[in-house]
């Protein structure tokens, strides 16, 4: 397929999004660009200390002023965006990988493995949001990689749970059954047949958690468990600004707004994309069956992610909902 038509298809696909979604997506794109090129375009160094200029008010040279070391706050926000977005992306990727592996094991393994993984998921979902991650980071020693690791280790269950049901559903589909009947190995079935088919929903799942992960990262960094000084990270910047915020409130307001804006953009984009994809699949009025265990259709994924309540599957949702902050 020529590149041209792909781009065209993509742009037409995008243009069919809800306007809010389009705005959110462009905002997100801007943020990513700022994170990538901001520090480079904005000449000020995020780590350069100018004590003589410390705690100065916003000016042309420093549009957001300087912090207590005389470092340019805007430059720090740009660099901080990089870490927040990269960190959240890594966590989402890690969570998806673990979710996929364990989901596959549960779906393809024997009953015993399935039960074990199922219980593990259930138990972990009963543990609340951030405290396990907090404890794990503290035990591993505070650093950014450890923080990411702790977030991955404590937030994979909801993803594994959804992967499991997705895979189970695909396995029961006709084409997979025929592949198995033709003697394809499990590995071939998983990687050739199932993975490509659940890729879309998996991506949605990952992005749906993205905003929550950014909030989680910021909260733990705020407690001093993430990025070590002097590297800027939004949560940590809020913490550092606390001592000065009566006289220089924007030092705390700015990183807070950055977090809120990013999460907002991510959530809205995720919602729009999800609606778009869900609409595409079920445009033919084909309603998925509502079976209790394996009844996982894309719509159910969207439901769990959004998260609409399901009487029998409710614990999966909302691990990083705002209440946990």
């Amino acid at each position: 397929m020529p590149v041209q038509s792909r781009v065209q298809r993509f742009s037409s696909w995008i243009s069919e999004l809800h306007p809010t979604g389009r705005i959110a997506l462009s905002l997100l794109l801007c943020l990513v660009l700022l994170a990538l090129f901001g520090p480079w375009v904005w000449g000020q160094g995020a780590l350069d200390q100018h004590v003589e200029l410390r705690l100065s008010n916003p000016s042309l040279h420093h549009p957001l002023g300087t912090d207590s070391y005389g470092r340019d706050i805007l430059a720090r926000l740009f660099l901080g965006a990089r870490w927040s977005l990269l960190g959240a992306a890594l966590v989402c990727a890690g969570v998806s990988t673990i979710g996929f592996v364990l989901g596959t094991l549960a779906a393809f393994g024997n009953r015993f493995v399935d039960t074990i993984i199922g219980r593990l998921i259930e138990a972990l979902l009963a543990l609340p949001g951030l405290v396990p991650a907090l404890a794990l980071t503290a035990i591993l020693g505070p650093s950014f990689p450890n923080l990411l690791l702790a977030l991955i280790v404590t937030s994979w269950p909801s993803s594994a749970r959804i992967f499991r049901s997705l895979i189970l559903r695909e396995r029961e589909a006709g084409y997979v059954e025929s592949a198995i009947a033709l003697g394809a190995s499990s590995r071939v079935v998983i990687f050739r047949h199932i993975l490509p088919n659940i890729f879309g929903p998996a991506l949605i799942l990952a992005t749906a958690n993205f905003g929550g992960v950014i909030l989680g990262l910021a909260s733990l960094s705020f407690l001093g468990l993430g990025m070590q000084p002097p590297t800027p990270e939004w949560g940590r910047m809020i913490n550092d600004a606390r001592a000065y915020f009566q006289r220089y409130p924007w030092q705390m307001i700015a990183p807070g707004l950055c977090i809120a804006l990013t999460v907002l953009a991510v959530n809205l984009s995720g919602d729009a994309l999800r609606d778009r994809i869900a609409g595409e699949r079920y445009s033919k009025r084909e309603m998925p069956p509502r079976s209790r265990r394996a009844g996982s259709t894309l719509r159910d994924v969207a439901a769990q992610v959004s998260p609409l309540p399901k009487l029998t599957q409710r614990a999966a949702s909302g691990r990083f909902s705002g209440t946990e902050m």
């Binding site: 780590l47 350069d48 200390q49 004590v51 410390r54 207590s68 070391y69 503290a138 020693g141 505070p142 650093s143 001093g224 070590q228 000084p229 002097p230 606390r242 001592a243 000065y244 915020f245 009566q246 006289r247």
Partner: protein
């Protein structure tokens, strides 16, 4: 008047009252008692006239008692000296009233047990036999009198009417029992007063201590929390739950709140405040706001940059402290096993910038071991000169590598500097040092951990930020021993110098205050060459309270004293 001025003035005042005190009482008393007129600042053993004038406790107007011998040479074994409070105490009789609400962010008591918690003294719970005055002199406290009979014999008489919280009188036997438990419970205590000291009850209220060797620090050591007076909550128990302080705890929720009420039978009479509630609020900002919004009445040890935030309803002050911020270096491994690196490191740090960044300019950049102006003889042993630092490294074989970091024999001049959030200024120092030393060729990684002691114990560390109270006793030996002595509690970098050890031994047995200061200076000279630690700055003690509500507050350079019986509310 701005705060800097206030600090200067209060420091001037302090020195003036202090010197005045020495001139008024100290000198004459020293003359009378010791036979040598050496008004060396900070070592006058008696609070004397100054103390009586500005003292916290109206009950004590100490005077020297020269009991047995006449004046002699400093080394004379027949010389007697000591401290005495007036035996007849003007007891407070006014009924306690009002409530004082405080919020604190660290050193919050975890247990009302003097053997398990060393943070009870600031709250008026624990008392020691002697104590330091805000002028950094010594006065009797729970003791009425401390007398040296001969160089190795001390007699301590407990105050008439001193009682434990359970109503029983404090007897000589109680003192002996408390000391024995203190030695068993605190290894540090053994290094200060020998556990081989023989204790005998002379009468109901008097204990005779016979030290194995002359001990110059003895009366000062009695003021340490480690030698607090307590008794077990059940007869024969192993704890130290019953104390003598003017306030006692009615409620303690760990890490949350502590409520105090006056102890009616305190030897000085009931304390003036009917209820003191202390909240543990770890976030300095929240504490500050709580004072501004009137939720608490008094605030202690907050970050100095907050001084600007108060309105006119709050009286805020920054006064000199004895707390020194420093860096401990791990001498057991590279790069700080190289003396040249240590000296270059120290010489490359501009302490004035640290003072700006960490203390908003309210502290004092420090190049000496002891803080200046609090009564200790001390000399500059460190300097700031980046050119010299570079030159030192060059001559030591540390050449600038391709990435700007110096290298010697394949070893990069890179290390991790630990810090902790408990004291707000330390991480800013570390971040500033990291940036300052980059052009000199140091690659520093800053790492903030909650508990540095936990890390330094493992031996796997290079350098750590620290904040040490340099005057818990008012005598140089204590902190010199802890910081530079082999196995000392603050000597985490494991510095060992036999010359220092021998000088410390001399210091232990030296009785003459002036000689003690000279020995202290000799040790400081050695530290100048060896650079086992890097001294950075002295932060002020910050206090703020609501005007009109809190009365009688006198700032004390030693943060072991916060709630005294002079404090009242209206």
């Amino acid at each position: 008047m701005n705060q800097v001025e206030r600090i200067r003035i209060s420091r001037r005042l302090q020195r003036r009252t202090f010197l005045g005190g020495v001139a008024f009482g100290g000198v004459s008393i020293l003359l009378a008692a010791c036979g040598d007129a050496m008004p060396t600042p900070g070592v006058a053993p008696a609070g004397s006239a100054t103390v009586a004038a500005t003292s916290m406790a109206p009950a004590s107007s100490p005077a020297m008692s020269s009991s047995s011998a006449s004046a002699g040479s400093p080394a004379s074994p027949t010389r007697a000296m000591g401290l005495a409070g007036t035996p007849t105490v003007a007891r407070r009789t006014a009924a306690p009233r009002g409530e004082l609400r405080l919020a604190l962010g660290f050193d919050f008591p975890a247990k009302i047990d003097a053997l398990k918690d060393t943070h009870l003294m600031p709250y008026g719970l624990l008392e020691t036999l002697t104590r330091q005055t805000p002028q950094n002199t010594l006065e009797p406290w729970l003791a009425e009198q401390v007398t040296r009979v001969d160089p190795t014999t001390w007699r301590v008489t407990v105050r008439q009417g001193a009682k434990f919280w359970d109503g029983s009188a404090v007897t000589a036997d109680d003192i002996i029992a408390a000391f024995q438990k203190n030695w068993a419970g605190f290894p540090d205590a053994k290094g200060i007063i020998s556990p081989d000291t023989k204790m005998t009850a002379i009468d109901q209220r008097t204990v005779e201590f016979k030290t194995p060797a002359p001990s110059g620090i003895f009366p000062y050591a009695l003021s340490l929390t480690l030698f607090g007076i307590h008794k077990p909550s059940t007869p024969g128990g192993a704890d130290g739950g019953i104390l003598t302080g003017p306030y006692r705890a009615t409620k303690l929720v760990v890490d949350n709140e502590l409520t105090l009420e006056p102890f009616a039978d305190h030897w000085g009479g009931p304390a003036p405040i009917a209820k003191i509630s202390i909240r543990f609020v770890p976030d300095p900002n929240a504490r500050l706001l709580a004072l501004q919004s009137g939720d608490i009445d008094m605030l202690y040890n907050f970050p100095p940059e907050s001084l600007k935030s108060f309105d006119s309803a709050v009286e805020a002050m920054a006064t000199p402290s004895g707390r020194v911020d420093l860096i401990n270096l791990n001498l057991k491994r590279p790069p700080f096993n190289d003396r040249v690196v240590r000296e270059a490191f120290s010489t490359a740090i501009d302490r004035a910038i640290l003072n700006t960044v960490g203390l908003d300019g309210r502290g004092v950049p420090q190049y000496t071991l002891f803080p200046t102006g609090v009564g200790f003889e001390t000399i500059p042993i460190q300097t700031y000169d980046q050119a010299k630092a570079k030159q030192l490294l060059e001559s030591g074989g540390w050449q600038v590598g391709a990435d700007g970091v110096r290298v010697k024999d394949g070893q990069r001049l890179a290390f991790t500097l630990l810090s902790y959030p408990g004291r707000a200024q330390l991480t800013p120092y570390a971040v500033s040092i990291q940036s300052q030393l980059k052009p000199v060729g140091f690659a520093i990684e800053v790492k903030e951990v909650q508990n540095v002691t936990e890390v330094t114990k493992t031996g796997d560390w290079d350098a750590t930020m620290k904040s040490n109270n340099m005057l818990p006793t008012g005598d140089p030996l204590y902190e010199l021993n802890r910081l530079l002595g082999q196995g000392g509690g603050d000597n985490v970098g494991q510095y060992v110098n036999l010359q220092v050890e021998s000088l410390l031994n001399d210091l232990r047995v030296e009785l003459d205050p002036a000689q003690r200061q000279q020995l202290s200076l000799k040790i400081q000279e050695i530290a100048k060459t060896d650079v086992p630690d890097v001294f950075l700055a002295v932060g002020p003690i910050t206090t703020a309270y609501r005007k009109g509500k809190v009365r009688g507050y006198t700032p004390h350079p030693n943060d072991s004293y916060l709630i005294s019986t002079d404090l009242s509310v209206s």
